[in-house]
Structure formats: C-alpha cells, structure tokens
C-alpha cells in the first residue's frame, strides 16, 4: 500500500485511493461540492484543489489517485488562493437570500465562505436570473439560482436509481438543472437528492420552512419502515418546540452505514414519521361499564397483575414493530415465568413494495428479532382458541384488530374475550375494543435494538421522552410483573 504525506502526516492507503479520501482518513478536511463518495467522480466544482509536489499545477484531490511517496499540501498559499477564487466564481451568480433560504445553517456555500472565502465582493454586474421555487417532483423544490451545478443530483438519478430524470441544460452562466418536460423527479428515493445537494438549490417540500436547522437535535436511530433497517438520524425540534406545537420530529435523514444502506434511504422511510407525534394514546385507560376512564399506572398495574394468576386462559400477540428488549421482556414474562402457551407474533405489513436497492417487502423492522426470541407467526391459532372460548384474556401489542380482522370480526372476537389488554402508542379505533388501553412509547422514545432481515442487530436511541404518560412495553411489563411478585432482570 502506498505511503504518502499530506500536510506533513504519513498516511498509508490502498492503491487507487483518491487524495481526498486519503486526507479524510487522516482527519484532514478538503472542501468540495461535486465529489460524493457514493457517486462517480465528476471533477467539475474545482473546490478540492490541492498542491502536489512535482506537479506543476494544482490537482483536484477527488480525481487524483495517491502514489508512493506523494507529498500533498492542502494548506499552502497557492491552495488557499485557488479555494478563494473558486468560491468567488461559484458565488458570482448566487443570490444572497440566506435569510429566506431553507438550507441556511447546513449550506456548504455558507460554511466554506466562512472557512475558505472571506473575500470582499468585486461584483459590479447584475446577477443572472434563473428559475426559482420550481416544483420538480412530489418531494423536491428547485431554486436554479442557488445551484452550483455540481451535478450530484443528476448523477444520483443516473447511477443510483437509474431513472435519469435530471440533467443540466444550457451552457455557461445560463446552465441550470432541469427535468424533462412533463416528467418529475418521482422515484422511490427522490428525497436523497436534497440530502446530497450541498447548497440550497434542492429543498424538501416536507421540511421546507418548518424549522431552522440550528434548532434541531440529531439522534441516531434505525428506520422502522421495513426489515432493511436503514440507519437514520431523527432530527427533532429541540430549541423551539413552541414553533411547531405538537410536532417534535421534523425530518428523518439517512446515516451512513456501508453494509446496510450506504448513504441513502427510501422516501417511504424518510417521510414515515408523522405518526410519531399524531393520534397518540396519552394515558392508561380502563373501560368501566362500556365507557373508557383515565386511570393511573398504579391502578392499571395493580389490577392487571392479577390476571397473571390465570396463565392457562391467556393469549399474547406481540408485534414485530417492538424492539428486541421489549420482545425479550414479553418472552421472559409470558413464556418463561408464566408459562403461557399461546404466545405469538402477528406479522402485519409483510408484503409491501420491494426493490433491489433498499426497500424490503416486510414493512416491520424486527421480524428476525421476534423469530430469534422464539416467537412464531401463530396468531391465527390464537384467534381460533378465542372463538372456542379457550382463551379469555388477550394481551395485544400495538395491533389494531379492526384493521387486521375487519370491524365485524373484531367485535365478534372481542365478545368472546373476558379481558382485552392493548398496549400501543396510538389511539386508533381498535383501541375502543379494549378493557385496558396502555400507552406505549414509539421507537424514537426509547433505547433498544432491531434485528434486520440479515440478522444484523442495530441500536436505536431515545430522542425524547415518551409522549404523555406513555412508557416502553418493557417498562410496563416489568412493573406489572413486579406487582405480581415476579422479578425480571434483563440485560439486553
């Protein structure tokens, strides 16, 4: 492997590595716009110029492979001059609309100007006018004037989705991003072009003007939208919650994982978060003479733990939306301790859209995890036993019986039961069937792990506390068990 020197540091990298990647490995930042490690090299922005000894001219570090004994300078006067000049060029026709630009705060033009620019404007001419605020797809807005023509979005549509919707038309200072007439950037991964846009040219319709990015907090997590388990970051409004009342999650962004999702996530996963803050069940509810009443957790735990004396009449249906920790707690309590025979998972949303890039047909995040803990997809048998009157108590996790069985069938099923306990985050219509409705936390509100379809166990982190009085399934079960005199200590 060649050894080279960058800014005086010796670095050993494999043959064929570009200077920019070698520098990244050594912790040296080289500014760039068009280069993206997930796309082909375009070499058009000229921002990543570096000085290589024995080369007469500055070289673009994204396209120059390292060689043995190469000596690179990223901080020399020549390089600094070049960076400043390139920035000046890129900003010649850039509108100074940062105060109303949604990219503000995460814009590489802003960042690099403060780091590598800091020149006084010499512009006497009028700026070239281009198309502004053009909708180019169901998720993406284009501002032609803000674009630096790095072509990342074009390459993304060419190389990752192979849908070829975008291109750069015209020439010179009139060049702009365009989609074919009558066409839209309407593919399953369109939101990614916004992520990779280094400036404010492409913005996300779902996120635009909702929240300034510097008010956001980022929490690493895993997308619960399918069994792929793409690594994501939950961006939530930490600093100005009163500006988005009732909405905490502002957007989801992909988080790099070379083995799972690389740099990308699908739109289905990206926009699958509004339910986190909507329609939530906020307090434990008990039905008394047909009418739901709010109760305290203590009351709920006290009464419900009494049901544990009748495990032979009990059925438990867990969900593959639950984390491994929650599932393990259910497994410990119901299977190991109470010896309940009828414990299963119900596999819902298992046949959605699947493709060769990321999307999997199983739209739940933890089917493999449930299977690994010994749960089986036997919910049908449990429903049969309820109808036969063998199961009188049902613990249901997250599911909506109305949706699964249909209204009539669900009500019929309900009438066979003595007690129906539903633990779930949402106050859907199926909740009305329950004798006890216990609010549980969603994935963004707890720590835990999901096991993806390949068996990869991935960590999710708690972004914010559960809404209302909700608790994680794990806490609810643990407390209920404690009241019944069963102590479970899980280290999962």
């Amino acid at each position: 492997m060649p050894i080279l020197k960058i800014d005086g540091k010796d670095i050993e990298v494999p043959v064929g590595t570009s200077i920019i990647e070698a520098a990244k490995k050594a912790g040296i930042e080289i500014p760039h716009y068009c280069y993206h490690p997930g796309l082909s090299v375009a070499g058009n922005c000229r921002m990543c110029l570096v000085e290589v000894e024995k080369f007469p001219k500055l070289q673009i570090s994204c396209y120059t492979p390292v060689t043995e004994g190469m000596v690179v300078h990223t901080q020399s006067e020549r390089v600094k001059d070049a960076q400043q000049a390139v920035l000046e060029f890129l900003l010649v026709n850039h509108p100074l609309d940062c105060p109303v630009c949604d990219q503000s705060g995460e814009c590489e033009l802003q960042n690099y100007y403060m780091k590598y620019g800091l020149y006084d404007s010499r512009l006497m001419e009028d700026k070239v006018k281009k198309h502004k605020a053009v909708s180019i797809g169901p998720t993406v807005m284009l501002d032609g004037e803000r674009c630096v023509l790095c072509s990342r979005c074009v390459r993304f549509c060419d190389e990752v989705t192979h849908t070829h919707e975008m291109g750069i038309v015209n020439r010179g200072d009139r060049a702009e991003i365009e989609v074919a007439p009558g066409k839209e950037v309407d593919n399953d991964y369109s939101g990614n072009v916004v992520d990779i846009c280094p400036v404010g040219a492409l913005t996300d319709k779902d996120f635009r003007f909702k929240c300034r990015v510097w008010f956001l907090a980022q929490t690493p997590s895993v997308c619960p939208g399918c069994s792929r388990g793409c690594n994501i970051e939950i961006h939530w409004n930490k600093e100005r919650p009163y500006q988005t009342p009732g909405e905490r999650v502002m957007r989801l962004k992909p988080r790099f994982n070379a083995d799972v999702n690389k740099f990308w996530i699908c739109d289905e996963g990206r926009y699958n978060y509004h339910w986190i803050d909507q329609g939530r069940l906020l307090k434990p509810m008990q039905k008394r003479r047909g009418v739901p009443h709010e109760v305290s957790w203590e009351e709920a735990f006290g009464t419900l733990s009494g049901l544990f004396l009748r495990p032979q009449e009990m059925g438990v249906i867990v969900s593959t939306d639950m984390t491994n920790g929650d599932l393990a707690m259910a497994q410990q309590l119901f299977v190991s301790e109470l010896k309940v025979k009828n414990v299963a998972y119900q596999w819902i949303r298992k046949s959605g859209k699947e493709d060769e890039l990321l999307m999997k047909a199983d739209k739940t995040p933890n089917t493999r995890g449930a299977q690994a803990l010994g749960f089986e997809d036997r919910s049908g048998e449990i429903y049969e036993q309820i109808e036969k009157g063998q199961i009188k108590i049902l613990f249901l996790f997250g599911h909506n019986l109305m949706e699964i069985l249909g209204k009539d069938q669900a009500e019929k099923m309900r009438s066979h039961l003595e007690t129906l306990v539903i633990l779930g985050p949402h106050a859907h219509e199926g909740i009305n069937l329950a004798d006890w409705a216990l609010p549980s936390a969603v994935y963004a509100e707890k720590n835990g792990t999901f096991t993806n379809f390949e068996g990869r166990v991935q960590k999710i982190s708690k972004a914010f506390p559960p809404m209302g009085m909700a608790k994680s399934e794990r806490e609810i079960l643990k407390e209920m068990a404690r009241q019944a005199g069963i102590h479970i200590n899980l280290t999962v």
Binding site: H164, R171, A180
Partner: protein, 162 residues
C-alpha cells in the same frame, strides 16, 4: 397525447449508417442530431425523444446536448440564419457593435425570426474561427471579419438573389 413522431425512412437508413460507424450508439448523438435538424429545420421535443429512443439514451442526456450547443434549435429558423459569435476573440474585435448594427438592419432582437420567415438572428458561442473575428455563420457559411460595410454588402446580395 400527440401522435408519436415518425422519422422518414430514407433518413432513418442514413442514420443507421452513421450509427454503425461508431463503437457506441451514444457516440453518434451529434451527427444524428445534425442530420435530423438539416432535414426538419429544428430539433423539436418530438425529435428529441425520437433520438433518445433511437440511440437508447435517457431523454435528459439528449436535451443536455441539444441545449448546450447553439447550433441546435428547437424552433424553425428563417431562410437566412445569422449566427453572430459573441465570444472572447470576437468581442475583443468589436462584435457587440456588429451585433447591434445587424439588429438594427434586420429589425430583430437576439433569437427572433422575421415575420416573413426570411431572416433569423442569434448570438452564439465560439465558432472556432477566431482568425476572422468578428465573425458570423450565415446558414452554412462563415463570414468575417465583419464591418458595417460588409454586413451591408451581404444584405444587398440577399436582396438581389431574392
């Protein structure tokens, strides 16, 4: 929906011949567009998508090329198409004055075609004839260095031949 554009069969044969000379279909894009424009007078969106299908290229790749070169145009041009170079060498040698003069003589603005479809005026990027700057392309002919007199002369010739 418009009826799908049909390329004339003679032209198609000619295009097939061109394509067969290249290793990849994509490489034939410029000559194919050239021939199509020669035959139809412009590259309409219908021709654009026909070419894209024909060369198995994404439509946007064809559009990028068509919009990049000033020698391709989407609308029909007049019988006499004046393409005035506006690039570096020509500008240094006074093309701006020549462009203004021609605009005045033809009573046309950049990109316009006269109502009788006799004249079109465009300003274009470098035509690679800097030695005759300031210059223009009049249909297939390069003319330069231009002076007000030579422009007068050309317009007179056109008038006589009409």
């Amino acid at each position: 929906m418009q009826a799908k554009f049909q390329m004339s069969s003679e032209l198609k044969t000619e295009l097939d011949k061109i394509v067969s000379q290249y290793e990849t279909k994509q490489a034939a894009l410029l000559p194919v567009l050239n021939l199509a424009q020669e035959k139809y007078g412009s590259i309409s969106p219908e021709i654009e998508s026909w070419v894209a299908d024909y060369l198995q290229l994404p439509l946007m790749k064809v559009r990028e090329v068509v919009s990049f070169y000033t020698l391709f145009h989407a609308e029909q041009k007049g019988k006499h198409h004046f393409q005035m170079c506006r690039n570096m060498s020509c500008m240094l040698r006074g093309c701006e004055e020549m462009i203004e003069y021609l605009k005045e003589r033809l009573k046309l603005e950049d990109g316009q075609t006269s109502q009788d479809r006799c004249f079109s005026l465009s300003t274009v990027e470098c035509l690679a004839a800097c030695e005759m700057a300031p210059m223009m392309q009049l249909n297939d002919r390069y003319v330069g260095p231009l002076t007000k007199e030579s422009i007068d002369q050309i317009l007179k010739e056109i008038e006589i031949n009409n």
